[in-house]
Every structure is written in structure tokens, then in C-alpha cells.
Amino acid sequence: MSSTSELTMLQAINEALHGEMARDERVMILGEDVGHVGGVFRATEGLFEKFGEARVVDMPLAEGAIVGSAVGLAMAGLVPVVEIQFLGFSYQAMHQIVGQIARLRYRSQGRFEPAITIRAPFGGGVRTPELHSDSLEGQLANVPGLKVVAPATAADAKGLLAASVRDPDPVIFLEPLRGYRGIRGEVPNNDHVVPLGSARTARSGEDLVIVAWSHQVEVACRVADSLAKEGLSIAVLDLRSLVPLDIEAIAVAVDRCGRAVVIEEAAQTGGFGGEVVATIVEECFWSLEAPVVRVSGYDVPYPVGMLEDAYVPDEARITAAIRRTLETA
């Protein structure tokens, strides 16, 4: 009997949801198409059958009310896990997410506990229609009172989702569309919890560190592996959660390497990459041997299918940025 199984990220998410619902009867699933059919990506598959329609609820098509009613459920002591079908549609509920969920504890000075998780797929690479692939994590990370979690591996998807559901504060849990079936790996079979706020060293290295999260971690690892053949030692730091941010881990990695590249899929201006660079400057200025470079999406809307590959940071762009950074000084 092995203690791990190879799962896709989607299976890992589904397993975490099964586990959390079994573990705590206050946990509920709300969303569009999450019940009877188990979600448009099948992330909630089997939950409706197992836990019933009172706990796994197909909601009317109204993101504001889905998120807004979760506030009320939390006030009643329940633990809602909301699925927004695609992160881009969280804008329809942003007044409830930012103004209500994120402030429920603060406004009530601790009376109400907003133990709410909002799951949503995001990110590019699968030729979706408009607004299905947008990366909004930088905007969400600027919202006080929200935690923002973005796993890059199947095991972390399970462990971080479990931690998110159990967290007493609201968590935005971001699932990379490309990773649902594209990312797979060994996942512990038993209860598996990865605490929020600790980054993961995906690759160790001495020459330069790539800071990334979500699907871009895999791309970064491919780049590191391929540059390793040239004798370059490239570290990859997977942030895993943007809020809380593991400042310590960033500092350690950058202090060691002296050079860093930050990658993200969102538009560059105002993206979370800027936050990472600013944090590096605050923490590690004297260790830096070259400017920290960002490889980001461009400052244009996430494009249609034929233009996706030109938009999403890929191995070529990341490699070029690394070479530039290594050549400096």
C-alpha cells in the first residue's frame, strides 16, 4: 500500500474537497454547475452524490449572490467553499469579495468569522474565450483581508486547498486551467495540509533564482533544467501563496543567488511581479548583482486563441531574461 498516488491537479483538488467535506460537516460547496454535473471541469465530481444537495448547491447564475450569500452562511457558522466558474467572472462579485468577505472580521471586530474559500480557474494556454484566462492575482493581493493562494503542483493543490478551507480567514484559491489535466504528480493519500505562507524551493541553484507561482513554476523548472545542461545553476522559488507572502524565503534565495527573475502571466504594469521586485529590493538590495527582471504578460487584454502563445511568458522569453541577467556586470 503506497502512501501516495499519482494524480492530476484536478484529481488532487477533488480529493481535497472530498476530504474537507467529510472532515467538517459545516463545509459547503456553492457555485454554478458544481452539483449535479460536478462542475464544468469536474472539480466537484462526486460531492453532490456523497454529501447531498443541501451541502453541494447548484446556484442561480449570479456571482454577486453566490459570494454574498456565502457571507451570510459564514455568519451562521458554516464554511462555504465557493467556485467561481472562471476567475474573470469574479469581477461580477468583486463588491462582495472586497467590500464584504474581506472585511467581515474587521468590520465586526472579530464577531464574525469569514471562513470562506473562493476557488477559481485562471490562466492561459488552453484557448478559452475572452475573460476565461485573465490573471488577477495581483489585484486580489492588494485587497486587505484576503489571502491569495496559487498552487503549482498536484500535491500542493491538495494540501493548500485543505489549509485554505480550514483557514479562519477568506482565501482566494487559484487553479491554473492548464494544470487541471496538464500537471500531475504524487499526492499523499492521507490528510495532507500545506500551511499557507510558506514558499517551496522547486529547484535549488546558486546562479540566479526564478520567482514564480502557479503554472509558471512548471515553465520555470523546464527552463532551469534545460539551462542546467549548460552548467548554469538556476533556482526556482514557488511562492505558493502571495498573501501571506513568504518574504523570508524570497530573501534567502535572492541573497544566495544575487540575481533574480520574476515571472507572471498577468499584465506587467501593476501585476504582482512588481510587488516581488519591491520586496526583493527592500530585503536584499545589497546582495543584488544585477537588476531584477520581470517576464510578464503584456499590458494588453488577454488575447484570443491565435495570439495566446505570443502573450504568455514562455521558455524562450524566460531564458532570454535569464541570460540577460546573468550577463549583466
Binding site: 442561480p60 454577486g64 454574498g68 452562511l73 455568519m75
Partner: protein, 342 residues
């Protein structure tokens, strides 16, 4: 339909008269610069107080907008203390003890409506008896949240009373520019739920309608949309000058229908009310609010309170920010003069 007893009506009037007296005191405190901007209750006394009396504070919840607190004291005397803290800008101004089933005031209009639906739903799931009642204005009924929430309530048959206080204005916007609907209660049919339109200046009618909606909800019959028609007798807020836009003759007409006066004369006719009683009740209400104001002003406030209750536990960055603020000492930050360090 249970008409309120004369005793109940009298209790409602006590709350209404107290609220009006206290509202006057708040207005003065604001004009003296002692408290911040607030939205007076004038004209809403009957609909709020009668609703509170038709509900059971031990099981039912109230989710206010922002104009209601003074008439919600039946749900717990702490409501007044909290409101005073709110008005002086103290963070505890939105915290009530667990025994008081009143949600914080809501500034983001209509967002409280889905909360009320979710809370009602959650109570059902947890087999807790009771209903939730959510107040919102005619203006707020134009927000998408109204629609999404009421529709959801219909689907879930949630035990929620959706109480639209139609005071004919949203700041300077009159009802006819808010909607072409003849009645906001007419929207109920579009959600498959009952809708009733009542005279919100008639405390007994409010009590009746809320009681009926409550019985329906407790019996599993789901939500009711109530449109209570009143008239905003005061300013939108202390920062507003309604003489710029409220037609004087409309206001004069509305004053002849003042909810407090109506109930006073009804109970006076029955021999249950007189000037002496009124003076006593007003005096007591003023003592209560003055004491509450003093308590509020004396309420301690930690130098680093700004960081409390964002998360249950500070993130590393918040922890640093807290430490920096505390280390900076008196020069690193300044707290308004009213505050007291713990």
C-alpha cells in the same frame, strides 16, 4: 394576521419616541463636531420599531442599512452603545455581542441583502429557528444585489423578510427617476414570492405585515418582499441640504402623516398616551444616549488597533507593520484626540 395589542403598540411608540429624541441629540452632537456624518432616522421610526417588535430578538436577525439603529434597541441596549462608537469613528462601532442579533451597518448599498438570504439559509441548514429581516432603501432596490439576492431567496425558499423602506428619495434622486415601476412590491412576482405594499407610517400595518411574513417563513413558506412607504422627513445625512431638492409642499404633506404623531394620537385617543408620558420617555431616552456618548468617548483604543481583526493572526507583513508603528512611538503616527491608549 395578528394585529399588535395596544400594549405592543405602546411599546413600539416608546421606541419611536425615544429614537426621535435621540436623533435630535445626535444631530446636535454632529453640528458641534463631536461625531461624524450620519443618516437621521426621521420618518422611518414606525417601520423600524414595529418591525423590531414583530420579530423575536432571541431567534431572529436584523440586517440594517444605516438609518435604523436608534429604533432597533429592542434587540439589545448594546445597539445604542455600538451606534455611538460608530458615530465617533471607533472601530468597535460595528461590534455587537453574540447575544444581539443585529448585523453591522451597511455602507455598500444592497450588499446586505444576499447576506440576509445566506444567513437565513444557513440557519435552516443548522436547524436554528428564526428568520432574518433585511432593511434596504428604494434607491438600493436598483442595485444588482437586490435582484440576485431576492431571486436566490425565492429559489431557496429562505426564511427572510426583504423589507424595502421606500422613503421616496435616494439622496437627491426621487423615486420616479429611480424606477418606472408603480410599486416596488410588484417585483415579487418576478421572483415567485409574495410581495406586499404597506403604509410604513402605520406602525400596526408594519407589525402585521412583518408578523405575517415571519409566520410564513417559519412555516417553510419562504421569503416575502415588503415595500413600506414612508417619507424621508429629514436630510439624507448631516452633510446634505434637502431644501435644495425636496419640494417644500411634498415635505409639508408628508409631515401631516408623521409616523410618530399618528401613533401618538391613536394611543392618546385610547387613553394610553399623554404629554407627560411622552416627556418622561424622551427624557429617559436622552439620558441613555448621553450616557452612551460618554461611554463611547471613554472607550479605550490601542495605538495599534488599526491592525486588529484584519486576519485572525497577523501575516508576517502586518506583524512588521504593527511593530514599526509601535516602535515609531508618538512621532511615528498620530491618533485622533478622542482616542485613549489601552
Amino acid at each position: 394576521m395578528t394585529r399588535p395589542s395596544d400594549e405592543q403598540l405602546r411599546a413600539i411608540l416608546v421606541d419611536m419616541v425615544g429614537a426621535r429624541a435621540q436623533a435630535g441629540r445626535l444631530w446636535n452632537l454632529q453640528r458641534q463636531g463631536q461625531i461624524g456624518t450620519l443618516a437621521p432616522i426621521d420618518g422611518h421610526e414606525a417601520v423600524v420599531a414595529a418591525t423590531a417588535h414583530a420579530l423575536d430578538p432571541a431567534s431572529d436577525w436584523i440586517l440594517p442599512q444605516y438609518r435604523e439603529p436608534l429604533a432597533l434597541q429592542r434587540f439589545g441596549p448594546e445597539v445604542l452603545d455600538q451606534y455611538m462608537l460608530y458615530n465617533i469613528g471607533h472601530p468597535d462601532g460595528s461590534r455587537l455581542p453574540p447575544s444581539v442579533r443585529v448585523a453591522p451597518l451597511q455602507i455598500s448599498l444592497a450588499t446586505q441583502i444576499p447576506h440576509a438570504v445566506g444567513l437565513a439559509w444557513g440557519m435552516t441548514l443548522r436547524h436554528q429557528p428564526g428568520v432574518t429581516t433585511v432593511f434596504f432603501g428604494d434607491g438600493s432596490s436598483s442595485e444588482g444585489d437586490f435582484h440576485e439576492a431576492v431571486n436566490l431567496a425565492g429559489v431557496l425558499r429562505a426564511p427572510v423578510i426583504l423589507l424595502c423602506v421606500n422613503n421616496q428619495w435616494a439622496i437627491s434622486t426621487p423615486l420616479h427617476q429611480q424606477t418606472a415601476a408603480e410599486s416596488l412590491a410588484d417585483r415579487a412576482v418576478g421572483y415567485g414570492i409574495p410581495g406586499v405594499r404597506i403604509d410604513g407610517n402605520d406602525a400596526a400595518a408594519v407589525f402585521d405585515a412583518v408578523d405575517e411574513a415571519r409566520q410564513l417563513a417559519l412555516g417553510g413558506g419562504g421569503p416575502t418582499l415588503i415595500e413600506a412607504n414612508v417619507y424621508r422627513l429629514g436630510a439624507h445625512t448631516t452633510a446634505d441640504d434637502p431644501t435644495r431638492y425636496v419640494p417644500a409642499e411634498d415635505l409639508r404633506a408628508a409631515r401631516t402623516n408623521d409616523p410618530v404623531h399618528r401613533l401618538v394620537s391613536h394611543l392618546a385617543d385610547l387613553g394610553l398616551w399623554d404629554d407627560g408620558a411622552q416627556a418622561e420617555i424622551e427624557a429617559a431616552a436622552l439620558v441613555r444616549i448621553d450616557e452612551a456618548f460618554e461611554r463611547a468617548m471613554a472607550r479605550p483604543l490601542a495605538a495599534d488597533a488599526v491592525f486588529d481583526h484584519c486576519f485572525l493572526t497577523d501575516t508576517p507583513r502586518i506583524a512588521r507593520q504593527r511593530a514599526t508603528l509601535l516602535a515609531a512611538g508618538p512621532h511615528g503616527h498620530s491618533i485622533s484626540p478622542r482616542s485613549t491608549d489601552e
